[in-house]
Symmetry: C2
């Protein structure tokens, strides 16, 4: 007899992931039937028109096929056959020398090129480059042996939660609204969700009062709270936490013996000129806190790289004893290693072309074009949505999403709304219930990634729809 | 207070993965101290001298940087800036036209290039190519919607076991000896291991008698047996199962309502001319069995590609009801999608250059050189080890390993042996206990991947060591 649905575990069946849920499935159906769909459901920059950085792709092409620079697959100047013509005259000179240098450095670090498994944690030379990046960004030390390369931040979330959830009594605090991967993974691993609300009225900041309330409620229910997850910049909220707010969260975690998982994948996506990104690592270090375990995540999928398809990123851990680090390494080794092209892109992300080097100007030009487009669209989208009667949208300080609040007719849910919006306009957004929201409120999430023209269309389509929705 | 070892779950702590265990860690220490280490512990072809296929790397370079063929990152003939010079004259002509065609086909399939998330299951055009490959290989139908691209077969194992293990009562039959990922993942997911022994005297075949015994023993202990895992060709055994043996396993699974996970990553690695690889899908189809759920795995890491670092592969499922397929898709969507370069390599694996096309001859030449080297080394290694007094080695019919049996002095374990071998000779092999073995026997696993000279050295080092070991 084949396997049946009833053979599956409740944790699998209960796991929900709205970003790729039923509304997206319906959009795909409509598209197949010939409807034009504007996919605003997912932060997938290159699917919505963003171009990859030339430098990153040049380095990747050179790493994949080092014959382009006259080298073998390990980056060594040997020919595979003496009979073949030397290719460096044909190709090498056409790539910028700093891209060639980066590719050679990556290949040297891997020792065997992109086709061999690396160490489970990732290539040491790349982990060293990440540690230098953290040091330069934050002015603090970073240990390459506390860095784990990953197939995207989702895999780091999984790894951290696998370590933190030891049984059904263990609780993980997660923001409401949150990126649904957290909810899904906690459910899948059989842990308890301990939701804490973000304060929409105060730009989605965290409040100590709401954190303490959530913690105490959980303790009263017998939950052993192990960690708090914080997304900064926030997804779906678009909030960028200030120094004071981060310091408060660290104090909260310390006072309750919690670990911190901090998802910092949108750290480059800060749009307000008077806001800046502070890492939890930096603030913890400034405060001299060394007795809180910190799991910080970063990714190549967001920022101005937007290299989602390459599935790369890393987790840096702090305040984690060596014997626990060994357990994390062991778990990582079950997948052998993260993919090497993703590791190579991570190297490029943390080691951009230096000022004065041949690729620098183009890199900066491409980067700034992307960032300024994102900034403009964030402003237009938030402003446009906020101007619609029945919709309130917090300004988008960072990340890649608007999360407007919608007034609904009695008896309607946000799922009803998003489905009706899709059917009526072809605009595909994700209902707020997929992220969680204060009971009695309704929201949806939509990305800032479509072109400015499409965003203007989207706003006017939503405005028309909203006026008639009943 | 930071997280402590005692905060972790027993399932995490109990998980063991010998292929990257303490002996490998010791080898890395010795290497750091200046010792020459011969790493025979892992099937990592390109780390042991195997060269990537030129065609695969050309296609990858073109997909990563389509400007090499005068296209943008989505494979469309548009320039990112009209001011830039057109590159096709410089590069495009230097790549074989069929590599360019394959790259264009892949980019067209992805729609947005390698930098965007694909569908959770993987790019449809690539799944269609895999379905065609299965149809050509086996003469049976294959449905692209039953195929899930993965970051290597390890991730497919994880996905299948996540579906099959619903609680601590659920048991998974796994061979002894086995590839330790199975043991590790079952432990991590809190399932029960139901080991069945392979018959070393009969070339590591499966026996119905031993399967029934293992099944009944488990049932008596209250285990609900859900599935059987079969590795064909076998790792670490090197066995290639014949048609009759596969048919027997299918009958066994059917008679006990078990699903089958079949790990067929070494399907290209068959060295004996009178042996051939039969897929479980083919044999099941020939027998008209449609009421057994089958999860078949393949990978780009083994065979003659050896592209481990690219982390690619797929799982094809059969006899799985639609509502369970939806659950698998949902779980896959938590990681969003597998990495796109790995998907592109998978496309190349299932769609090699056609006869008469420009890349065909070089492809065949490179492929045959790799396969004949593997075949020669398999023969020399098995014969050489078998000739050592105190060591018995089954001939290596397939896959990439020898798994010889060693006679040990009283009081010595295979771990002692492998550690002493490493310290004395620099040869790094994995103790049999990491894979499981009949109580009272001792083995080790060593790959056929080093060069012929290194394999000859290895044999003579082991022979000298064995003569003196006490």
């Amino acid at each position: 007899m084949p396997i049946r649905l009833t053979d599956l575990s409740l944790t699998v069946l209960d796991t929900q992931y709205a970003v790729r849920g039923p509304i997206v499935a319906r959009a795909a159906e409509l598209e197949k039937a010939g409807r034009k769909i504007l996919y605003c459901n997912i932060g997938n920059p290159q699917a919505l028109g963003q171009k990859p950085l030339s430098y990153v792709r040049q380095v990747l092409a050179l790493c994949e096929y080092p014959e382009l620079m006259g080298l073998d697959h390990k980056g060594i100047a040997e020919r595979s056959s003496a009979a073949d013509p030397l290719p460096e005259q044909r190709f090498g000179s056409a790539f910028p020398p700093d891209a060639i240098e980066a590719a050679r450095h990556i290949l040297e670090g891997t020792k065997y090129g992109l086709g061999a498994y690396s160490e489970s944690k990732g290539v040491l030379a790349i982990r060293k480059a990440i540690a230098r990046f953290i040091t330069e960004r934050d002015g603090i030390e970073s240990d390459p042996n506390s860095i784990f390369l990953s197939d995207g931040a989702s895999k780091s979330v999984e790894l951290a939660l696998r370590i933190l959830i030891s049984g059904p009594q263990d609780g993980i605090m997660l923001p409401i609204p949150q990126y649904p991967l957290y909810d899904a993974t906690i459910t899948l691993f059989g842990g308890r969700k301990v939701p804490y609300y973000l304060d929409e009225e105060r730009g989605w900041r965290l409040s100590r009062e709401l954190l303490d309330k959530a913690f105490m409620d959980a303790v009263r229910k017998g939950v052993k709270v192990k960690a708090i997850c914080v997304l900064n910049p926030g997804n779906p909220t678009g909030a960028v936490l200030d120094h004071e707010n981060i310091a408060m969260i660290i104090d909260f975690a310390r006072s309750h013996d919690l670990s911190i998982i901090t998802d910092e994948v949108y750290q480059e996506d800060v749009y307000f000129t008077d806001f800046r990104f502070y890492s939890f690592a930096k603030v913890m270090s400034e405060k001299g806190v060394d007795n809180v375990s910190l799991f910080s995540l970063h990714s190549i999928s967001k920022g101005f790289l937007g290299e989602c398809g390459h599935r790369g990123g890393y987790m840096e851990i702090r305040g984690v004893p060596g014997e626990v680090v060994d357990q994390i390494t062991k778990l990582q080794s079950l997948s052998l290693c993260s993919n090497l092209p993703g590791q190579a892109v991570t190297y490029c992300m943390v080691t951009p072309p230096k000022e004065g080097s041949p690729s620098h100007d183009l890199y900066i030009r491409e980067r700034d074009a992307i960032m300024s487009a994102l900034r403009d669209r964030a402003a237009v989208l938030a402003h446009g949505l906020d101007g619609i009667h029945g919709i309130d949208c917090t300004p988008i300080a960072g990340a890649m999403y608007a999360f407007p609040r919608v007034s609904l007719p009695a008896g309607r849910t946000d799922e009803d709304y998003c489905l009706a919006l899709l059917e009526a306009t072809g605009v595909c957004v994700v209902p707020g219930s997929g992220f969680g929201q204060l009971p009695g409120t309704a929201h949806f999430r939509t990305t800032i990634l479509p072109s400015m023209d499409e965003i203007r269309d989207e706003i006017s389509l939503i405005a028309d729809f909203q006026a008639k929705y009943e």
